[in-house]
Symmetry: C2
Subunit: 550 residues, 2 copies
């Protein structure tokens, strides 16, 4: 921060850097015996606490130091949500090295590209990913050793992975006497690559400062509202954007943590929610779809689950209503992105909304909400001119804040900011009182006759139809209008609906010229590594599609 003007009178407060290690130290000192429960790859439930987590993190930090890992070196993980992954979070960043979380849903080629680009020195991975690591290890140029996160008796008898070590054997050789170093809070802490649907994947390089500030801000009552009275199950993966910061914000409050491991199907999640009495969770809509399907089919209820944050993609209003009205679970709609650590907005009501009707409150709760203090946003037209906050005008969404990137790792993609603001690639409206609604991705919006059609609205309406499981809307080239909407629909198992019925369902809900020109039924939609529907794949698939003439 040194390039800003200093006042002739500086404050006289303690000069203490904001470091990730302070979180696990705090959790140990004040919440040492609070539980961390993990469903392991092996299938069993493992129980530990913040005190042990801190001790084992320091053992791992000592081990990494003995392996020659230095400040600023990248150490990669390829792992599910679990206690060993949490230990790696603190050991790597806390010691001044940089935690590079790799998304295991990427292809081996993709992973090798990222690992080489990041110049990873070591890779820690879960047993599940042994075949995956075997598939790409030979293509990694910088990795000096592979650490399999398991007990000695689960190590493979032989493997073609070079320098393969056992995590438990490794840390058992080291004491917990490690002292977390103090260093500049702007030092790099973690590295996460964007899914990279276009061009090469690009890395967001978070600092200790940005991570700690994001932890404070995201824990606040109008954001994730994380408290020591909660039991938190992060469904969002620790291998992507740090599970929305929960591995930091949960320990600092002392809340009980429950990790689901690889078992993200409806049945496994439901059983874990109930057995551990989870009160709060966070995930993308597709996960809740699976959970709700299971719970609905088996006529179950939740005994402790009270609140969930949904982000990653817009939550279909129908799902929000089911969670709220059928199961009594409050939904906080949130929005962010890899480049924002990731949280930018959360949707909560204010005192003044208490007087609104249930329906008007619902309309607000379906937006992505207002920015979390620290972040600021605006919408602009293609020329960069600020657009009005009227809840109707569509514009390109720009953000700034201390947990937003200024550039990508190794300056991939060059200058990314526009006058100091980060262009999100989202199209949004903002209401007069600052509630933002994502209407589309810039690259997904359908440009028809010079006007924009938001595909998310069209998809949400389709999803509200009782026979529709999933829907995606894309623009198809049109000789007269430039582009026109095509709707692709996956029906619920055992349910039926016709094209005519579906289009009839749109009547009165949209402007007439927004009506999809055609509907196609599909068995499934392509889903990406972060759980989002891959519209570019759908566009590729339908690139030669001809719309019926009107």
């Amino acid at each position: 921060m040194s390039h800003y003007t200093k006042s002739p009178l500086m404050g006289q407060m303690m000069n203490q850097p904001l470091l990730i290690s302070s979180i696990i130290e705090h959790a140990d000192r004040y919440f040492g015996d609070n539980e961390i429960v993990s469903r392991r790859v092996e299938g069993d439930l493992h129980r530990t606490n913040y005190r042990e987590c801190h001790a084992r993190s320091r053992q791992l930090a000592n081990a990494l130091q003995s392996l020659g890992v230095k400040m600023g070196d990248r150490v990669a993980t390829l792992a599910w949500n679990g206690y060993r992954h949490l230990e790696a979070y603190y050991a790597v960043s806390g010691s001044g090295a940089v935690l590079h979380t790799i998304n295991p849903r990427l292809t081996p080629e993709h992973i090798a590209y990222i690992a080489n680009h990041a110049e990873d020195q070591y890779l820690l991975f879960d047993l599940t990913f042994l075949p995956l690591v075997e598939a790409f290890a030979a293509h990694c140029n910088t990795i000096r050793g592979y650490i399999l996160m398991c007990d000695p008796d689960r190590m493979p008898a032989s493997s073609k992975i070079p320098h393969l070590m056992c995590y438990e054997t490794l840390i058992a050789q080291h004491q917990a006497d490690y002292c977390w170093p103090l260093f500049d809070e702007n030092s790099a802490a973690t590295l996460c690559y964007t899914s990279g649907t276009t061009g090469n994947p690009k890395g967001a390089l978070y600092s200790h400062r940005s991570t700690v500030l994001h932890s404070y801000a995201s824990a606040m009552p109008d954001a994730l509202c994380v408290s020591g009275r909660d039991t938190v199950l992060p469904v969002v993966p620790m291998f992507h954007v740090n599970a929305w910061g929960l591995p930091y914000s949960v320990p600092l409050t002392g809340a009980k943590m429950v990790f689901p491991g690889p078992a993200l199907d409806g049945k496994s999640l439901y059983e874990l929610f109930e057995s551990e009495q989870v009160t709060f969770s966070a995930g993308v809509p597709t996960v809740w779809l699976g959970l709700l399907t299971y719970v609905g089919q088996n006529k179950l209820t939740f005994s402790s689950f009270k609140r969930t944050v949904i982000g990653g993609s817009a939550c279909p209003p129908s799902m929000m209503q089911t969670l709220r009205h059928q199961y009594g679970i409050d939904v906080v709609h949130a929005w962010g992105m890899t480049e924002m650590s990731p949280l930018g907005t959360a949707c909560t009501l204010q005192s003044k909304h208490g007087a609104l009707s249930e329906q008007d409150q619902q309309a607000i709760l379906e937006t992505q909400g207002h920015v979390i203090y620290g972040v600021d946003m605006k919408i602009v037209d293609d020329a960069g001119k600020a657009l009005p906050w009227d809840g109707k005008t569509y514009g390109n969404l720009l953000v700034k804040g201390p947990w937003v990137i200024s550039s990508y790792f190794k300056n991939e993609g060059g200058e990314v900011l526009q006058d100091g603001w980060f262009p999100t690639g989202d199209v949004a409206t903002i209401s007069a009182d600052g509630y933002m609604r994502i209407t589309d991705r810039s690259k997904d919006v359908i440009k028809s006759g010079g006007e924009w059609i938001g595909t998310i609205d069209l998809e949400n309406i389709a999803m509200a139809h009782p026979a529709v499981l999933q829907a995606a809307c894309i623009g198809i080239a049109h000789p007269k209008w430039d582009e026109r909407p095509l709707l692709i629909v996956v029906k619920k198992p055992g349910m039926d609906v016709s094209k005519a019925e579906l289009l009839e369902f749109y009547q009165g809900k949209i402007a007439k010229w927004w009506m999809p020109d055609d509907v196609v039924f599909a068995d499934a939609l392509p889903i990406g590594a972060t759980g989002k529907i891959l519209k570019n794949k759908i566009r590729e698939q339908f690139k030669d599609y001809t719309l019926p003439s009107a």
Copy 2:
């Protein structure tokens, strides 16, 4: 922060300083029409909102600039909790000058000393304080102008105060076109002097960074838990330690703010709580005593008040139970000090405490709680050796954190830290799971036969007696035991209790050797400028007191 080692790899996040101006900008942009209601010195209720507050803050910033106020200059206030005081908070600090809040309960001599020591350039003050300002203005060497916070028609026809200006006339001459400057976040923002019961008053000089971090931390669910769904009435004064940070943490959440002005009696507060539907408040025990007395005498109830933070002094358990059980108001016991911005700890339960009995939960809630993430604490003996966390061992309490001072303004009092820790002057125990309990001030603790007797425990037991309104316990010199406890008691109006009955009331509640040697009944106890009982005055009063021989 620059003296810390930089990693070879720095994060690539936006370089954005943490500045107080960003709070009011955020409140304007996202919660612009949310209300700020103030009971004015004039007696009426004034209504404004965050948008107007931001505009008027910028007008004031322009006005101060035109008066020659520069970055780092001190601008003082002598004012109650109200909207104009809030404007001054943002205008002064936001523009890079330093807000010096003066406690009007100090003597004119005391105020002149502080104003001269701070080298205040201007003083903004409420109409109430006109006689006070007239009493000390002639003794202030550096103040170039006095700004009376009122409408033009309330200005005095004549006054001996030099360079007296009208606030409303002044800001009306300026536009709201002021742009908040960006500068180093470690720049000084506000200055607050300790009440200084011994030696000269000493100034705590907060920075923008410390204030913003304190705002985030104190708003979290396990601290003050400030949300946009609250209506907040800070009874704690803005003239002392920034009203526990509420003038910052409330606007950043968009909560409706209600300022009580000078009307802090039970009736006025109760009426304001009800008419504005206040949900959350914060204050010292003496204020709640007044409110509860009024509410009890008139057999009233609260229709919206749900939660309060009590600090400044330990809250008597009996008051906590009355609030909780009789009125359904949750009490969060908090602890801090001027040197800590001020919040250090807050007392909230964790998941694991859900299984405890009501009584065991109550015992935890009566402690000062655990530190808010960012602060760390320890207890040490007189030689500086760390003492065990067993909930029993008494020790000197030391703290550190980014919102704790490193030294006093102008280095008054010299080096204050002990190995990087700030000695609080409190004596405390810490339980195995990190709950801290203040047992005394170091200077109040009674040293009897080489052991320590905590006066707060003795006072709390007395306060639990139905006939006792207030109690204070001091050590009286004793030939054999060095010191022995004397209890001074104020009875409730119309109630009676004898010395023998009171001592009988202690039976079974304390170790036998803790029993007060004598009880004295008084009409009132001396209260200091910050609402605390002045034990040094009581000790002065009883310095020649002779205890009855056993």
